[in-house]
Symmetry: C2
Amino acid sequence: MPRTDSLGKITGAARYAADLFLPRTLYAKILRSPYAHARILNIDTSRAEKLPGVKAIVCGKEIIPYKWGIFKQTRDQYLLAVDKVRYIGEEVAAVASIDEEIAEEALSLINVDYEQLPSVFDPLEAIEEGSPQLHEHVERNIGFTASVEFGDVDAAFRNSDRVYEDKIVTSKISHLQMEPYAVLANYNQTGKLDVWVPNQSPFTKRRALSNALGIPLPKIRVHHINIGGGFGGRSDTNPAEFIVSLLSIKAKRPVKITYTREETMIATRHKHPATVEIKLAVNLDGTITGKDVKIVMDGGAYMSSGIVAANTPYVYAESIYRVPNQRYEAIRVYTNKTTCSMHRTHGSQYVLAEETMIERIAEDLGLDSVEMRMRHACRAGDVLPSGSKITSYALHETIEKAVEISGWREKKGKLPEGHGIGIACAGSFAGFNLGFRLNSSALIKFNEDGSCTLFTGNVDNGQGNESMMVQIASDVLDIPMDSIALVCADSELTPQDPGNYPMLAAFCSGNAVRLAAADAKRQILGIAAEKIGLPSSDLDIRDGVVFAGESPEKSFPLSGVIKRAFSKGAAILGRGSYTPKAQSEYGWANWPGGKIQGQHGATYTDGTTVAEVRVDKETGMVKVLSIVQAYDCGFALNPMAVEGQWEGVAVEMMGETLYGKLTWDKNGRVINNSLLDYLIPTALDMPEIRTAIVESIDPEGPFGAKEAGISGGPGVQAAIANAIYNAIGVRIKEIPVTPESILACLKGGA
Amino acid sequence: MPRTDSLGKITGAARYAADLFLPRTLYAKILRSPYAHARILNIDTSRAEKLPGVKAIVCGKEIIPYKWGIFKQTRDQYLLAVDKVRYIGEEVAAVASIDEEIAEEALSLINVDYEQLPSVFDPLEAIEEGSPQLHEHVERNIGFTASVEFGDVDAAFRNSDRVYEDKIVTSKISHLQMEPYAVLANYNQTGKLDVWVPNQSPFTKRRALSNALGIPLPKIRVHHINIGGGFGGRSDTNPAEFIVSLLSIKAKRPVKITYTREETMIATRHKHPATVEIKLAVNLDGTITGKDVKIVMDGGAYMSSGIVAANTPYVYAESIYRVPNQRYEAIRVYTNKTTCSMHRTHGSQYVLAEETMIERIAEDLGLDSVEMRMRHACRAGDVLPSGSKITSYALHETIEKAVEISGWREKKGKLPEGHGIGIACAGSFAGFNLGFRLNSSALIKFNEDGSCTLFTGNVDNGQGNESMMVQIASDVLDIPMDSIALVCADSELTPQDPGNYPMLAAFCSGNAVRLAAADAKRQILGIAAEKIGLPSSDLDIRDGVVFAGESPEKSFPLSGVIKRAFSKGAAILGRGSYTPKAQSEYGWANWPGGKIQGQHGATYTDGTTVAEVRVDKETGMVKVLSIVQAYDCGFALNPMAVEGQWEGVAVEMMGETLYGKLTWDKNGRVINNSLLDYLIPTALDMPEIRTAIVESIDPEGPFGAKEAGISGGPGVQAAIANAIYNAIGVRIKEIPVTPESILACLKGGA
């Protein structure tokens, strides 16, 4: 099913935030901290104010001393630095002027007096007593701890035949959306603030702006806009959104900022680097009886979605394999670096540790690692240690499918020198509770010709959500997709939707659209029934015509039904609202409230990756030859879009495994914040990717659908790491796996 | 109640079509016919095409040979002239280029070969056999005839004591919206056409564009835009909307046209000039027993809303005074002049004839004209000759009120030399059938803080409809008006609404909003009832708080209710649809279908104007000293806005009575198409205006409201004419009443 948004994107008709222009728009630039940690003694903007063309300047001292953050519990960041700066690149002051050059020049005329403070960059150092402390009242820089224990973990370790331990280290990763970050804000004379910004939820952006700026919700509109990638990095509110709004309020003109690539890479969010210590209690037959996990995450300067980041790996820890006794602790630590937030593949840090360890155990105990995975794999109907229920699951089938398609049995141990094959399982969940309300709603209004407009709050970050929503409505109503105009992701125009980060586009927004379409259909059949003289239960819509199954001669074009409705004062206006049962019937795990027990997601997804690699022992270069992605997304609404998601995330994770790493100098400055220096896979690096869709029909998902944007990611890294071990016997303990690290391991005799 | 739109309009934040700009916009200019009637032999655009900067040219021969018109019955105009031109100013070709100057230059390079044809400008000549014929198959240029007879008219005239006859002639009037007419159209690469144009209904514009261009409805969006006046002149689709769209399709870029004042005055619509012959059968006691009316309307080159224009005066003929026997015939005639359409005060031509005649009869029979009006005035409950029911009416009270406020009894016959006072009754109706479906719908969605967005298809042409819709929702929900964001008049975003020309903003759109708000309130109270533990019938909303009347301590802020709804999967989404009983229960008079019997409007309005004038017998100059407007609008939702309407239309009609007249030279060219030459009242000409709101609560109107934008107009002209007679004894037979005509009458001894 071709996507409805493709034509606009390939022709250039689709407009992104950086493309926008309003008459009299001013251009903003932000003055950023040159120090990783410093006290701000004074900011003097007087020279800059005198520069002709400068229309507004804002800095921390003059703004409302309001701290924001995703959760009430973690509001730790001013709209602009007030007392201190905590990383190189932090926003200190901003200028709006008639062009970007003058704004740049004005920045150079702002004098900031800093008192430098000692910095800390390594999270393991940051949690030591006596380390430089970033935030008042946050001792040892531990911003948040997620901690839980189920069963008798100590007994499991005492009683097991073997205990395996490992430590894995991952790097700080840029989300690297191809679209540069940009904001346009227009505060007009009626007190209305219009904002255009790439986002993962216009509603949470609107709420954050309202809270921070004291403007009521009906006076803020976060507009629909095309978005060039989210990947979790656009769920949080970026300071620039507040800053540009403040400049517009002050200048009384529209203000726009377009980040340079360098700014996008240091001053928007990163993926958390983590140190994962894992310990498994295992019997000689391969049964895993206990698990003890400790994770230290480097969160950077502010909390952002750190609570979610600390909790999410536990979902992977309990929902892939059945392990009765589990202890889990994750701490998220402040350091003097760019803030980290959620990433589409967050949790891969944990999966890498567990999935490479399973290979090691299987080898050590002389077992088949595939059989070991099959033995422990969770199943539909399982109630997990935390109490979470799994309503649909197909991990066994995905393992079988991945093994079959990849030729695992034929290849494992039989590949030539330097070639290797690796396997890993992973999964995800759809719809989790963030303390926000997960209600998604949708509306449909019909036109007199039988076409309609669909309204959904859901946002499309590039994954195809817009098309999915139209497809669902089209299917329920049996009218062509191009008869449906879509209005989406606009805080003023569309019904409530919590947004994309809780992985709910298909499951929640999709269900809301399904219900709205069903409501409209009910109305249509009711009107038609009066006219045709048969009960509406005997009627159905087929391809834009209402007809009676028993009396096909009694048909009625949809346009006729609508016109009849209009003349009877009964416009066709369908509405649908959906909240997952996980919320309305089970008890949510309430992460922001510190409650890790309970239902973690509305439903779970699962799957298996097999990777094949060739390693050049002379150069240390790893070439990924092929990746097989066998995943369970529930019913695949649009198989082509699902495959696109799994292919995309495979390449993204391959890049993260082999090249991705933001590198910092000793002063806390990113030294590879450009597309020249920060490496990602290009066309020449592409492996062959095969996908297999496994459909465990979810009882609650729309048509049985669950989620496809996330699950395919976390296992890829581990599969590649396992394939490298299979090829050259080097165990991967740190990513990215650089040629230098391979050579060092080979030299050291891994 | 201050209007919600005022702040935007006075600060300049409100954007009108001419203010808009999209990146890469091209500017259009239209080549217009220099002849009133000619055959187009050839159009050569080859030289213009070569001019650098020209991006697209369209002319009639290359476009779809589709004829459009408001009603299917009267599609008589190509999108651009194809075979013939029928008035000076008709659209012949159009150019889009990078600026207006180049577009102008390109026009001068287009060669059109015409064969001139004989023209006809006077409608009375046009209906003679042998006159030049404008349209094939339309003999004697009679485009439409409205004709009806009730009772025994001939007998009434045979049996009456006296028969009075008169003939009144009115002029062609410009609607003269202060906003120049402008269109921006953008047909993008996805096949979507976005249009911004001042309009009285985005839905009928969308339908016209869809029919003419063959683009399906969901691919056309007519956007909300601020509008600088409608007055009936923007209900019709102007050729430029098609032309600019065609240019955008051809150039693949946005295209904009902004008419000059001169173009706005010759190439948009005019008010119909009419010759009204009226004959009344009257007994010596003043009882009117029969009426015979013949109207010839000069329609100009095309039909536009000619059907409505021909029928509407009959509504005035039967709904002001009870006259049992009536004959009515109105013919609308094609002439080689600019097309006429509806005007806010259309029907004033008829009212002028009848109301001046009543004064004459009263004087002739020695009766009190006020008493004569009181005796005949219609009442609520009347069933009119056509079968129309009057559900609420207060004409008697308005007469009394106008007489009282104006001091009529003290002044009539006692004013100094050259001073005079005149009275006239009029009225209007709300919601009439145009063969479209009158259904108005509205939606309300609530935000988590208890604020909401209201969606209505109704459009605001400056009369205050936006504010009215917000006020109705605010009242039903008892939340402040500024807690309500409004989305209106956008064919894609808002529910169906037929638009403003059938005078239904308050009555139909207002009712839809009321119902949507009530639906939302029901949902809110239902959710609150669960929480509070009382039946929802015990609960109410007061100022944003839900509370129980019996247990005031059990209150619950609205925001808490919405959040509770969200968490239970029940967003608050109110919907309302309204169709007047006139449509759903009574039989509509179907004008386009030729059926003048039946219900003409959903409800009727009524009222009385008294004007006082001073006439300078030396110069012939008339100064209107004061106007009293006592009208019945049903319940006055916003008295300040109602007064604004009645004051505005009083001035508009005063201008039409004394100065307004488009003047044509012998070739058919308008010679006063500028604000310098076309006269309207300015600040110095303002009379004292007093308004009195009389409220006949309508059983069906929202809160009893009916209509206020139209009714205050048609009586003003007659009241001034009667005052002039009272002042100087000159009977007004033609308007405008110029100083020259006064002097001529005085000289001739009227």
